[in-house]
Symmetry: C2
Subunit: 202 residues, 2 copies
């Protein structure tokens, strides 16, 4: 039985992009199972009194973040473009993500949508852009977009966001393990995988 | 001519502790020169509208930080105790740090004071504790404490804090390079050293 790490992300979150692109290969190398868990940061930021991303609220922090992400993506050979506006409204993307992850191509969709936004500057609040990303994966967009707007998927996203808040998440990406550890940030991905492996007695 | 990294820290800053303990060996391995630059986060936090550490202002973030630091110090085999109160008033420590760094044992003092606070739970706002740390390094405390309270040292700390703010620093530890790059956080120490080495044409 492999250990498991839950990978929590918001499609609008900058550091969730490199994490999403890195997690599968690193988890495979560590023999740890990863569950992709999209959620919404908006309600969690709101509970902390923030009306937008802290990177917008604190300009010095925001300036560093954009430069840091640029350097980070260069190191990882990932394309990078600063999204406009930032943050994007990720509600539709998160719903489509939940619907997509019921299928074998769900993680590919998540990676493709991150790359479209942060690599190609595509807006993710737009059903047409999301349909293009689905079509690029040879998935028929219409049924997925319809499922994404169903009451069942809407409720699952709300439940998932509530769970994130209950687990103490305050930012994205975050990683949680079955034994209750929380790791925040792309920088903690490797440590979370090591933890899950060790907790599993390996 | 080796590349140079400026290592900016506040003695009360949690993640400045592992950075201070790691930086010398890593810099030596990278053949990069490091300058220790104590400054005060207080005025910089104040400019962002914060009256205390963001780890106190945002409890979910604070809870993660303490656990993260515990895991991080365990990985590095560094002792760790949560300081009470947090953050400590680091004004006297920063002044002594500036005075100490005029001497060959200055970096040893910085490491010893970080270890006293985060390893042994010693308060750093107290001249007696700081004198003990100096004595532990076989340095006579009185002349150093007197120098630390001189107008010249007070002015140098103000100038250093102003420079930190001008460089765009918003937290500690931070690392800056001669070509204007800013790296924030203990997690970016290795990257800053690589940058300084590369910028230097090595």
């Amino acid at each position: 039985m492999p250990g498991t790490v839950d990978f929590w992300f918001d499609f609008a979150s900058t550091y969730s992009y490199p994490a999403a692109m890195r997690v599968a290969a690193l988890a495979e190398a560590a023999a740890v199972r990863v569950r992709f868990r999209p959620f919404l940061l908006g309600p969690i930021f709101k509970a902390q009194g923030w009306t937008t991303s802290p990177f917008n609220l604190y300009p010095a922090k925001g300036n560093h973040m954009w430069r840091d992400l640029e350097r980070l993506c260069a190191d990882l050979s990932l394309p990078f473009r600063r999204p406009e506006p930032f943050p994007q409204n990720s509600l539709l993307a998160a719903r489509v993500g939940i619907a997509a992850l019921d299928h074998g191509w769900g993680e590919d969709f998540c990676r493709a949508l991150f790359r479209a936004q942060f690599g190609d500057g595509i807006r993710i609040d737009d059903a047409v852009s999301i349909a293009d990303v689905l079509a690029g994966l040879r998935v028929e967009p219409e049924p997925v977009l319809t499922a994404a707007q169903s009451d069942a998927i809407k409720a699952r996203l709300r439940t998932q966001t509530d769970e994130a808040q209950r687990l103490g998440l305050f930012g994205a990406p975050s990683f949680t393990t079955a034994d209750g550890e929380l790791f925040w940030g792309n920088d903690r991905l490797e440590q979370a995988l090591r933890w899950a492996k060790k907790a599993n007695g390996e």
